[in-house]
Symmetry: C2
Subunit: 432 residues, 2 copies
């Protein structure tokens, strides 16, 4: 038996002329006749190392994992403005084969199918890494902001007996001989937890058995959900989202400057976001861009794009809240507008012409919820454990769900949502 004692180490900041030891994978290697320039991929980014003589290389080749001992030296042409000079390498592991794609190439242009098949390796390319560092920052900003606003994190089941969103796009599962489903959203559970903690959030997977293959749908995605009690109206929910978006741009500026620069991302303005009624913006966009409205109750992708363009051109905003969606297009738990029950107290947030959020106020009154279910031909008895919260009392409340991959895609300017997901699931893709 030994006792383990963990001491937190002080972070060492690199200084010039200071000896250093670091590790990474050999990203690129140029032999300049006796002197070798190596680029290592480290968890802090690319680092240039300079080795003199064969021996200092220890036989390192592209794809090797190495440690490098040397001295920091200022070098404006190197990544990060410095390099590790007089480096001596020790090879820790060697690959069995050279990489299937040139990872060190500045822009790695690959057909999407090729890329996704090789994802485990392609993700090592710096531009691919950047997307997912930004994605991690989105989650961090979401949590930090909601934490500050006194939300409590929850974890709710993904195997469920009843789908929250209804419809056919739900995965079925055999659960010890019983029929079960994969959760389309944490809707029922996050509402339930408003009765417990008043403000809750969850970041987790949701599952949609969408049969279409589009550039903006995944069959499994990560949803950023929150739900809050004691709202005066759904504008409180939109304001909370705006607060998160403001925090997000601040976090990205502070922590992801290199990634934003590498991808050429321009951060959206978040100080003010226009909010406009569904029927109003439909008419405005149709008039401005000269098309006719086909479906007065829905937004088609082309129409979302037109609305995004309108918001950009007329209001100077990358974001636009579209409010008061038609009741028939919203689920049974959405609260209808008391002023006109054909519409709901709900909203979507469009970002650069794509829906990235759906939210709104929910019904909190038991009788009202039962009545709306019955009006839709649903059997309240099937939802007994959900309706428990209404029966025993709920404050007025609302919330939203943000698609993490969609937000990442629009922020990074990607052409397909699969590029914003580490290992995407679509109709034909189950691995890697």
């Amino acid at each position: 038996m030994v006792f383990l004692r963990r001491q937190d180490e002080e972070k060492v900041v690199a200084r010039n002329n200071q000896a250093a030891r670091l590790h990474g994978m050999v990203h690129a290697l140029r032999d300049m006749g006796g002197i070798t320039f190596l680029t290592l991929r480290t968890r802090r980014g690319l680092v240039q190392c300079v080795c003199s003589g064969r021996e200092a290389l220890d036989g390192a080749a592209e794809g090797c994992a190495v440690t490098a001992a040397g001295v920091w030296r200022e070098e404006p042409r190197a990544p990060g403005g410095r390099e590790l000079a007089q480096a001596r390498l020790t090879v820790l592991s060697r690959p069995a084969a050279p990489p299937p794609v040139p990872l060190a190439k500045k822009k790695l242009e690959l057909h999407l199918d090729t890329e996704l098949g090789l994802r485990p390796v392609v993700l090592r390319a710096p531009r691919r890494q950047a997307v997912f560092r930004i994605q991690a920052a989105i989650c961090r900003a979401f949590r930090e902001y909601l934490q500050q606003e006194e939300f409590t994190e929850i974890h709710t089941p993904k195997i469920v007996r009843t789908g929250a969103e209804g419809g056919a796009n739900i995965f079925r599962l055999d659960y010890f001989g019983k029929k079960a489903f994969l959760a389309q959203s944490p809707q029922f559970y996050k509402q339930t937890m408003v009765g417990v903690f008043e403000r809750v959030y969850e970041i987790g997977p949701v599952f949609r058995a969408e049969k279409h293959a589009t550039q903006r749908h995944l069959n499994e995605y990560t949803s950023l959900d929150f739900e809050m009690g004691y709202i005066d109206g759904f504008a409180d929910v939109m304001r909370m989202e705006q607060g998160f978006l403001r925090r997000l741009t601040a976090v990205l500026e502070a922590d992801c400057a290199a990634e934003l620069a590498l991808l050429g991302v321009e951060l959206p303005r978040t100080e003010e976001i226009p909010a406009v009624r569904f029927d109003e913006i439909k008419a405005l966009a149709a008039e401005r861009y000269g098309y006719s409205i086909r479906d007065p109750y829905d937004l088609e992708p082309e129409e979302e794009a037109a609305i995004g363009r309108y918001a950009r051109e007329v209001w100077g905003s990358d974001f636009v809240f579209v409010t008061h969606y038609p009741s028939k297009k919203r689920p049974f738990y959405a609260m209808d507008d008391p002023a006109d029950a054909r519409y709901t107290l709900s909203f979507d947030l469009l970002f650069r012409g794509l829906e990235v959020t759906t939210g709104g106020q929910r019904i909190h009154d038991y009788a009202a919820q039962v009545a709306k279910m019955e009006a839709r031909g649903m059997d309240p008895a099937e939802f007994e454990s959900y309706l428990m919260i209404h029966k025993y009392g709920m404050p007025p409340h609302g919330g939203l769900g943000i698609g993490l991959e969609r937000l990442t895609m629009q922020l990074c300017g990607l052409d397909n949502i699969r590029r914003a997901c580490l290992f995407p699931r679509d109709r034909t893709r189950l691995e890697p």
Copy 2:
């Protein structure tokens, strides 16, 4: 169209004799003849309000959501040492029925089945809330610590083509006519991401189709996973876990003092944790407690309990790392001990006699991984996309998975893991 402008509000700290407005649900209500004492459940905990006269109550009853306007006054006997005096209530919503259990009772003793059936409401009881506030703090501590240690957060698929842990305890799924599974762990993906970010973590659901109903198994649970490259050995992984545990106790002390007190939780010491070989501790515990070892290759629950007792009595520790598990009990990706291939470079962490973590060093060499798979009768071609990482180069690496509910259960001294999960899934329970 209107512009939404979100201004972050300053948090108001309650001061005596200051007017305040707050909201919450009526937890308890005592009429003292003209004066009514109400307890509200708010997101910051219980608050006592004092109302004079019928009118000030607005007809509030238990389970109503209300706002209360009044004046803060020092009151040592009230929760938090103060109360809202001269309170005037406005009822925001009324329940359809009184609560099915006495939520305001100090200790709500319910049969587990009754409790789980009524979970959406029972969770409102302060002692139940406390468990899940502590659980949220565990996740926060995990992320904060790993963030500081330069880990990157990832999100990996839960619908997979191949199980990482093998065996029969895997849920099957129809995926557009193809056979798919629910992920038993993010193992393959987190290893893959070590090749990208070097250090990664994920908090997410995992699914185990365990057929036994025990007090320590759930069919869906939340796993705290991390994986790190460039380790010198699996002790680096244990040290990282110890670092997290130290952070955890600090976070709990700082943020959850009220919850710890309510539940009577004594925090474990984390400054030093004994680490002992599997075969050594088996023999030590068997000798001390006078039983004979039945299976030299496994730890039965009773044996885990005995080892926990041994660690407590002999080494004064609630935790014990048990190292060098037998190779035949570990998955194919575990690295065997070069000194004795019957054992692996791996460990479990027991906490108060229960396994809460499994971890270890993984094979990083392509030929070695293929050879171990073949020796186990597995077909490497079936794992092509996983083996890609070994083929194109991986650093030495290792990691672990912590069961969130088990850690919560042991920390809070609960008698069943279902009490440490908001909405548990077991063989018979699919809702709420």
